[in-house]
């Protein structure tokens, strides 16, 4: 379904790529894949990259609880201090809290992000995690992989691969911040 919006003089096209049901199914599948690959939930922790990744991490944690009956530790990570574009940025982005209230030493860390694009955020997140401890393994789960990688980074768990053009934008709505679940492709 396409929505046409006219904002100012530019034409914006919106297309829904995933709806609530599809997002729910994808997260269920990813959770099962995580449990399958790691042979259960022992020694796992989940860390979401702010903001979208944090909500997704919490949902995966809840699903693991439903399936395995195990409470895995869940944390949030803001990568601002590890970005590689600070010296060229003119305006600082607001920093959201990082909260990792457990040791990641020897743990299998499932790093969760909403949209994987250039891979630079994931690089920053991995550097940050290394300062928090020495995890046994870091695995990457993403809801959307939109291509255009600038670094050799590959997710272990991909919700949906959506080839995009660089001009397009992916907009993610999640219940936790906008009351509904939906992934939109925006073309200007």
């Amino acid at each position: 379904m396409y929505n046409l919006l006219i904002s100012g003089l530019s034409l914006i096209m919106e297309k829904e790529l995933l709806n609530e049901k599809e997002i729910e199914r994808i997260l269920m599948r990813i959770t099962h894949e995580i449990l399958e690959k790691n042979k259960g939930a022992d020694n796992i922790c989940i860390i979401g990259i702010v903001t979208g990744g944090v909500y997704l991490a919490q949902r995966i944690k809840n699903k693991i609880k439903e399936i395995e009956g195990i409470d895995v530790p869940v944390g949030s990570l803001d990568i601002s201090f590890y970005r590689d574009d600070i010296s060229i940025s003119k305006k600082r982005k607001e920093i959201k809290p990082t909260n990792i209230p457990f040791s990641i030493d020897g743990k299998k860390v499932i790093l969760v992000d909403d949209v994987l694009f250039t891979g630079r955020s994931v690089r920053a997140a991995m550097d940050a995690l290394m300062d928090f401890g020495r995890p046994a393994e870091i695995q990457l789960a993403v809801l959307i992989d939109r291509g255009h990688r600038e670094l050799p980074i590959m997710p272990n768990y991909t919700g949906k691969y959506i080839p995009t053009s660089r001009k397009e934008k992916i907009k993610l709505h999640l219940k936790e911040n906008s009351g509904k679940d939906s992934v939109l492709l925006i073309t200007q």
Partner: protein, 301 residues
């Protein structure tokens, strides 16, 4: 924002942004590895024309935690004693391609002068009796941490208000919030012009009634040109905050001091070491606040 020269020029929104960022850096200081690579490859210089240990070390630690390279330039070791002007000192350090200049100077307005004459980001670490913006920000952050808000409080600033750049910056900052500000002290140490949002008290007991926050100031003998108080002993007797204040202070009132404190002058040992005192928390928060300020400053577009 390129520089932080004064609180006066900041909006409430700017202050809230700094305080939110400070919270993020406070979390970093609680980690095992307290250093982040955020500003690696950049250089800061601490330009101190006035003696200071705690502010300088606080800035230095904040800079190192952000992975900055740090230069220290203090008056006793500098060419200022050989007669170099501030402008020439500045041009010299500019040739080192420094990105951040932290300046403390005995002349009010020195930080603004430096900010206007260098492309580097400048942070005022105290200029004469004018302002000490990072102290006011760390005080605000500490109040926010303990009280959960900066609005709807009664905050008393006690002591040597006229000589205090800390009091001035705090007044500017708290005035941006909907909070009651009181100045308490002998008339010789309070400003002659009364800002309209400040209540003046010339009696300690009267002034401290119902306050949520007591901010003490150091008696600045080095800035007093004249007889402002009869003697330190008498000052302590009349204006020193002693344990008797706990009889009439609010149960949850907190005691603050920017340091260095003079025990037995503006504060007694019992009060300084009481659980109501958050003086050491202020010191820790100073590092996080200064990290936040350095992080948020960006070169001119």
């Amino acid at each position: 924002m390129k520089d932080l020269v004064s609180i006066k020029e900041l909006s409430r929104r700017d202050i809230e942004e700094i305080l939110n960022t400070t919270k993020a850096f406070k979390e970093v200081l609680g980690r095992d590895i307290k250093k982040v690579p955020t500003l690696r490859g950049k250089t800061a210089i601490n330009l101190f024309f006035e003696p200071s240990t705690r502010t300088r070390t606080s800035f230095e630690l904040a800079e190192k935690r952000l992975s900055l390279d740090v230069l220290n330039f203090s008056v006793s070791t500098s060419s200022v004693v050989k007669g170099e002007t501030l402008y020439d000192t500045l041009k010299t350090i500019e040739s080192y391609s420094v990105d951040y200049v932290i300046i403390r100077h005995s002349a009010s307005g020195a930080a603004e002068f430096v900010a206007n004459h260098t492309p580097a980001s400048v942070i005022n670490a105290g200029d004469g009796t004018n302002e000490h913006p990072t102290q006011a920000l760390l005080d605000a952050f500490s109040i926010l941490e303990v009280k959960g808000r900066l609005d709807n409080l009664k905050i008393a600033i006690v002591g040597d208000v006229i000589h205090s750049r800390v009091a001035r910056s705090n007044l500017y900052l708290l005035s941006k919030f909907d909070t009651e500000i009181r100045f308490i002290g002998p008339s010789t140490l309070l400003p002659t012009e009364i800002p309209e949002n400040v209540k003046f008290f010339y009696d300690l007991k009267e002034g401290l009634k119902n306050v949520d926050v007591v901010m003490l100031l150091r008696i600045q003998l080095e800035r007093q040109k004249g007889a402002f108080i009869p003697s330190l002993k008498e000052y302590f007797h009349v204006w020193g905050v002693k344990k008797e204040v706990f009889r009439y202070l609010k149960q949850d009132a907190i005691i603050m001091h920017p340091g260095p404190m003079n025990r037995g002058v503006e504060i007694s040992t019992e009060v300084a070491d009481s659980p109501r005192s958050i003086i050491l928390r202020q010191v820790t928060n100073g590092i996080a606040t200064r990290m936040a300020v350095i992080y948020l400053l960006t070169p001119k577009e």
